[in-house]
């Protein structure tokens, strides 16, 4: 493995802290009783897109682990791993984007959103249910429906929050060649 840069290490730490705080305290009450809409995957998509796949996978794993750790309902390895997979998938595909160089326009927005939807499907409809079946032998139709619901609700929040974050971040960075010599 290539040596991790100091910036990536810090991004993992702060990213995990943000993921934890969003997951634990910024849940939006949804119309369905006792279910909250999670906001942290928009953040994770953004961190992965800016700092790369290693930051994405580790921030997801550590952040989710601490959420389970602090709620005390047991550590759900299958879902913790799925969060990591989402960060990883986002980071790998998003290498084409140049958000940290200040570029995030129409085509990039579409690319980012198709990508995040695919990454959510992989994590919640493939990874989490399959692990649930392997570990807990839960009935397949139950876990796949649970996974599908979370994939849909997570990708909606990611579409809104993740896109807005990337836009705001890209705007704050001066573009390459934005300075011109005065005539």
């Amino acid at each position: 493995m290539k040596k991790l840069s100091v910036k990536t290490i810090v991004a993992i730490g702060i990213g995990a802290a943000l993921f934890f705080v969003l997951g634990r305290f910024v849940a939006i009450p949804s119309p369905v009783p006792n279910t909250n809409i999670t906001t942290q995957y928009g953040l994770l998509a953004f961190i992965a897109a800016v700092f790369g796949p290693i930051a994405g996978v580790l921030a997801g794993l550590i952040g989710h682990f601490f959420i389970d750790f602090s709620y005390g309902w047991g550590i759900w390895w299958s879902w913790v791993i799925a969060s990591g997979v989402f960060g990883l998938a986002m980071g790998i595909i998003a290498r084409k984007l140049r958000i940290s160089e200040g570029e995030f326009s129409g085509k990039d927005i579409a690319f980012f959103n198709i990508e995040q939807f695919a990454a959510h499907l992989i994590s919640w409809v493939v990874v989490a249910p399959v692990l649930d079946i392997l570990i807990y032998s839960e009935p397949a139709n139950k876990v796949f429906i649970q996974g599908l619901i979370s994939a849909i609700s997570n990708s909606i929040t990611t579409a809104i929050i993740g896109t807005l974050l990337c836009l705001a971040y890209a705007k704050a960075i001066p573009k390459k060649g934005s300075l011109k010599e005065e005539d």
Binding site: G13, I14, A17, I62, Y136, E138, P139, N141, I160
Partner: protein, 275 residues
């Protein structure tokens, strides 16, 4: 807010174990319980886990809040399993014994009852040790122990960075959220769902963008102090292994081995009393 991670300081045998030992034992124990569906073994783990609470001097009162969460989760899951797959037990155990005269899809069978009680046992075998781990391990020692069990120290350090910055991020979130609410951003149930989502992003964007600045500052400070130049680093919270540490890791390893043996003996993960 201060007691986010439920750590309870008390003089006990389990508290004196090093964080690394507790982490390794907790992982081995969880894997043992994950691997098998043998009823007798899961029942043994559940009883043993609860006994450990007495050793760790953790009282029911300390964990009642968390146990409540777990129970709610468990009840919802149990009901969902029955709704989605009332014949799952029959498929697993390969026989079908109706408990009542009624024989429809949702008719209760002995196999389904047995499968679902095993499912509950599986929880009760893992939850006590995880709760115990949460209550007896100081979070900052946790990062040090990750390095001890072979995780790269750079990654272990990002874990401790996360722990260090969680309260700060939380504080900042509250400040921004209060400021936005004072300006009329509505986050409660009164607003529509899309409005709430937009309100949440109004708070999250300044929070996350200022955290990006924070990342820059911390990374520069660490770079200036030469972080990551050497192969190893020491940890303030690290402790030496004692006899009791080796002993508890050995027992947990034996539990995992027992689970593997049982899977072999039962010809699969399930203990089948029906054949």
């Amino acid at each position: 807010m201060t007691n986010l991670f439920n750590y309870i300081e008390r003089p006990s045998l389990i508290h004196r174990l090093t964080g690394a030992t507790k982490l390794v034992s907790m992982l081995l124990w969880s894997f043992a319980a994950m691997l098998t569906y043998d009823t007798r073994f899961l029942a043994f783990l559940s009883v043993a886990g609860i006994m450990l609470f007495f050793v760790g001097k953790i009282r029911v009162k300390d964990v009642s809040f968390m146990v409540g969460f777990t129970l709610a989760f468990l009840i919802i899951n149990t009901i969902l399993i029955y709704l989605f797959s009332p014949q799952h037990g029959t498929q697993i155990y390969g026989s079908c014994t109706y408990l009542t005269e009624w024989t429809g899809r949702y008719a209760p069978t002995a196999e389904q009852l047995f499968y679902q009680s095993n499912y509950i046992l599986k929880y009760s075998a893992t939850i006590p040790v995880i709760l115990l781990f949460v209550c007896t391990t100081e979070p900052s020692e946790f990062a040090a122990s990750l390095n001890r069990i072979g995780v790269n120290y750079r990654i272990a350090y990002s874990v401790s960075l996360a722990l260090r910055y969680i309260p700060d991020v939380q504080q900042q979130y509250y400040e921004i959220s209060k400021a936005s609410q004072a300006r009329g951003v509505e986050m409660s149930k009164k607003a529509s769902l899309t409005k709430r989502l937009k309100a949440a992003s109004n708070i999250l964007i300044p929070l996350i963008l200022s955290s990006m600045g924070r990342i820059e500052t911390i990374a520069n400070a660490m770079e200036l102090r030469g972080f990551g130049k050497l192969k190893k680093r020491t940890w303030y919270m690290a402790r030496k292994f004692r006899l009791q540490d080796y002993f508890s890791m050995l027992i947990s390893a034996l539990l995992l081995a027992a689970a593997l043996c049982l899977n072999h003996l039962n010809n699969g993960r399930f203990y089948n009393p029906f054949t």
